[in-house]
Amino acid sequence: MKYADEFRDKELATGLARAIRAKADPARAYRFMEFCGGHTHAIARYGLEDMLPDNVRMIHGPGCPVCVLPAGRIDMATALAERAEVILCVYGDLMRVPGSRGSSLLKAKARGADVRMVYSTLDAIALAEQNPGREVVFFAIGFETTTPPTAVMIRAAEKKQLSNFTVFCNHVLTPPAMRAILDSDDTVEIDGFVGPAHVSTVIGTEPYAPFARDDGKPVVIAGFEPLDMMQAILMLIEQVNDGRHEVENQYRRAVTASGNQRAIREVAEIFELRDQFEWRGLGSIPASALKLRPAFAHLDAELRFAMSELVVADNPACECPAILRGLKKPVDCRLFGTACTPETPIGSCMVSSEGACAAHWTYGRFRDHQRRLAS
């Protein structure tokens, strides 16, 4: 077993689609939010929406770390990268995320800033060792999935006693973002959540319990393969039909109730909660992001370089904030596919392949065209 191809079987998907049609009550609508960008990408890539009945609608959520990073934090990183002594290490998705006035790390690099794309946090450690005369800063972003690798990197920096290495920490948390979506005055109605796959391998299923218990929302944690998604949607439909609201785990081959305890311990020892953190599209959310604990302050780039917080307004023509909250679809934005494409992104949802706009541009718009032709 390869744990990928088996979960992309067309025949099984057809059977699941039949089961979904049989279970979905035509007299009601089902509105499920897939929180995670990985799921958004899978839905678009495999055309899953075409396999669902019209009354089952998937709403794209804000779980794409690149998409929710506000322009101000990009500007802060850009200013850091432009310092002569700094080598800024970033994950590739970050290079084209728009900051203020059309700026990006890619443009800063073109102007001469030393920005390096890395695959792994450990690549940043190697760069710090190879460049003792430079200040190596790792631009850490992501949800609970990418935080443990940052923790491993910090442990390695400590062990090697690197004095030229720091972290610009932007790690965020899934449950507070789900809470912000549910508590917002202008969010679409949601009948249930498809819970994130790899975030849940780390945090487990327990953190979602309040959404089921207190908010009455079914949650089904799903893997990223198309059959995983289809099964999770079927499980959500069954919960809605039965009037149940529970946390169910479809991705049992990788997710347990208590998650990866070693990763949870490492993260808890190194990071603490920020009071507030600004999210693109969701505003400032309390206790929704992490910073380094005082014991690791010497590795905190914000302290070492006396970085001050920048808050920057998004382009007013860009609908990313509404798209991130499920209020609008990519095609509802007048910039979509004209001024804003993956090559020239105006908004963050067009940058990462997991962003709702990029996924729809790459896969969905062709189906839109087919549908228009058919009608």
Partner: protein, 78 residues
């Protein structure tokens, strides 16, 4: 960024590192976040780190369940 891929552990190295194979492509990754790891295990790989082991029994059960779900409907609909 959140996309992660299943990979097979083919060799354990020093300092919590391992060689994994992704459909025949080898890569050196960190296994520092996994409690107990052995050659032959499949892991979820994300930005150069193994995040979780894949349980083969659970994977088989999920596939069996997927088949049953589709077949159940096929049986009741001629």
């Amino acid at each position: 960024m959140c996309l992660a891929i299943p990979a097979e552990v083919i060799k354990l190295l020093a300092d919590d590192m391992a060689i994994v194979s992704i459909d025949g492509v080898s890569k050196e990754v960190s296994v520092a976040l996994i409690e107990e790891i052995a050659v032959g295990d499949y892991v979820i790989l994300h930005v150069g780190h193994a995040l979780a082991k894949i349980d083969p029994e659970e994977a088989r059960e999920t596939l069996d369940l997927l088949r049953q779900m589709g077949e159940a409907v096929a049986e009741v609909r001629p």
